[in-house]
Amino acid sequence: MSTFLGMPAHAPRGVGHLRGDEPFPAAARTALANPQLRRNLEHATTTIRGKSGRVIAEVPDWQELRSAGSALKTYTMANLPRLLEQLEEKVTAAGGVVHWAADAEEANRIVTGLVRQTGEQRVIKIKSMATQEIGLNEALGEAGIDPVETDLAELIVQLGHDKPSHILVPAIHRNRSEIREIFLREMPGVDPALTDNPADLAAAARRYLRETFLSTKVAVSGANFGIAETGTLAVVESEGNGRMCLTLPETLITVMGIEKVVPAWQDLEVFLQLLPRASTGERMNPYTSMWTGVTPGDGPQNFHLVLLDNGRTAVLADEVGRSALHCIRCSACLNVCPVYERTGGHAYGSVYPGPIGAVLSPQLTGIEDNATLPYASSLCGACFDACPVKIDIPSILVHLRNQAPHPRAEKAAMAAAAYTMDRPRLYRRAQRAAKLTKLLGRRGRGLPPPLNGWVASRDLPSPPDESFRDWWRGR
């Protein structure tokens, strides 16, 4: 007799950060009203776009690399169960302990329990999307454990009691004078004469973090890659703070989304070329740390790997949507997105903002909980062109819109339009009636929602005296 293991579940409500408090259009409206935010984002995304574009142009086989990355991810998703079990076996053989977490609650419970076992009250953290996704910091806090973010931008967000707004640059919405104010207000032992010079700000963070690194015995990380063939985990970062966390503590706990597994060591050849150029615009990633289980006398002597599902299996079940799991978290799609550039990341309500967030978050939570996100795009296609693993984000957006719950009035209007469009004689009568829109005037006063959204900032076109088909008939 076989055991029914249940249908793949979505990420549970009430824990983690995959759902916003309000629909995207409303959250975007708030963000758009902040001119400082618009300036910060425009400056930052333009800078990253330029830098990334220049280094990508240097690579003659960039398109082939993208295809290779896409093929590797497709293979991985098709063989996920086998690869994960292989990873577990290799990590275990190398002295690590593997835990399986079905969702955010289970992952938080596992990590909190592991920290408790050490008897420590504080952990240092490497910037990680998976732990942001599950709300691990809040769970640790409730258990009386103090998590300290060590990535500079993530530290700015944590000290500012703020939320990350970008996958790679979580404090992209802050400029240096805002960062100075946060440090002066929140950083223990900060020099009151701190300036907003970037080097001074970095030095202040370094002084604060160095003490923390040397006095904390447990670290929590995410993982960019988990190599099934060898059981090796990899973290890529730019500051070296991650390497401090990975080498100094006695205990290391890594939370990794199950889609981050890669089949073989050699596959990093492709991803380590794609990721830095697409994300930070660097030719080579500055700090690439890799570890395999436990090495006696060197580095953490206790290593735990928590494999996180939290809705990923549900995403995998959708033939069109599953390629969202190919994402390597480079943020290139955010940096080129005209919507993200105007609204910033908070408007998306999830730790995964921008185009990839608009396709990933609704699939992880179930479409009902993020019904407006698939519409947070003009379908301009810039994200697809920028994606280093060729995720066809616009097609997934259209696919998800077809699953999203629709407003009743819109449904009726769409049905009426389709009915008319499929009957040329009725269509011709409707065209003649379109002339009546002249009565509204170019400012269209009195139009009902959502059409009043158009005329708030745009005039209506004047309808012509005759349609093309009437002109053609009389020709």
């Binding site: 995207f24 259009p25 975007a28 409206r29 758009l32 618009r38 005209p338 919507v339 105007r342 609204t343 698939p374 519409y375 947070a376 795009s377 003009s378 379908l379 301009c380 296609g381 810039a382 697809f384 062109d385 097609s395 259209v398 819109r401 077809n402 699953q403 999203a404 629709h406 819109e410 769409m414 049905a415 339009a417 389709a418 469009m421 499929d422 040329p424 269509y427 065209q431 379109a434 170019r442 959502p450 059409l451 959204g453 158009w454 708030a456 900032s457 745009r458 005039d459 209506l460 076109p461 309808p463 012509p464 005759e466 349609s467 093309f468 088909r469 002109w471 053609w472």
Partner: protein
């Protein structure tokens, strides 16, 4: 050549000048234009708003209407993009493999105007005259779905009297996006504001593009600003000659 015109519902209803110009231009170049009257809409609005099921009859109508035609042209990158990249998908989603195959075949014979002129008819100088300062906005779907590249600019550069000025940040979306412009009106407007500023920076009298929809959006914004810049479809510029200019 006998060329079937797919006018698109938007140009047919609201911007007939773009469709008429397509007819005049192709006839001037010595081709015969036909207009199959069974045509209405490609169904893109339904597909992109999440109503694929309702788009199915429209896809079927498009395929049946244009199946007998050797070459189809539309003055729209976006509608041709939908025909080429979405029609077969909608048919497959509905389990109609026969329609999907037919849709792929018709899509292979459907061209956006600048593609037809350069790739099929092999012409860059269409003999047009248009004495204005013009800036060109490459619409997202012509650029990133159809990959028309610089075909429209190549056509515009050969127009006598035309002063083509480059649009800053040209490849950024104008913010239209179909129902995006009403569902996310505020974000759409923020995108449009930047596009309008760039258009005004060029000092052009005319902003042109290959899509009536994006031009409706940009034109609606320019009109609200009382700006002295007109939006004119690419087909209208290419159809212009000394005769129209003298009128």
């Amino acid at each position: 050549m006998r060329i079937a015109l797919f006018a698109t519902c938007l140009a047919d209803t609201m911007f007939p000048a773009a469709a008429k110009a397509t007819v005049h231009l192709l006839e001037r170049l010595g081709h015969e234009v036909v207009f199959p009257v069974g045509q209405t809409c490609c169904g893109q609005m339904h597909i992109n708003t999440g109503y694929q099921g309702q788009a199915l009859p429209l896809v079927r109508r498009y395929v049946r209407t244009f199946e007998p035609c050797d070459v189809v042209v539309a003055p729209s990158g976006s509608c041709v993009g939908s025909v080429r990249h979405q029609h077969a998908m909608v048919a497959r989603q509905a389990g109609d493999e026969g329609l999907a195959a037919a849709a792929e075949a018709v899509a292979g014979r459907t061209y956006e105007l600048s593609e037809l002129l350069i790739d099929v008819l092999g012409v860059e100088d269409v003999g047009a005259y248009y004495p204005h300062r013009v800036t060109y906005h490459p619409t997202c779907h012509s650029l990133r779905v159809l990959r028309v590249g610089d075909r429209p600019q190549r056509l515009l550069r050969r127009v006598r009297g035309l002063d083509l000025v480059e649009l800053p940040a040209a490849e950024q979306c104008c913010g239209f996006g179909g129902t995006f412009s009403v569902k996310n009106a505020d974000t759409s407007t923020a995108m449009l504001a930047d596009k309008l500023q760039h258009v005004l920076e060029t000092g052009a009298d005319v902003c042109t593009a290959g899509d009536a929809s994006c031009l409706m959006h940009i034109g609606g914004g320019l009109s609200r600003l009382r700006a002295d810049v007109r939006t004119v479809h690419l087909a209208e510029i290419l159809a212009s000659t000394e005769v129209e200019a003298a009128r």
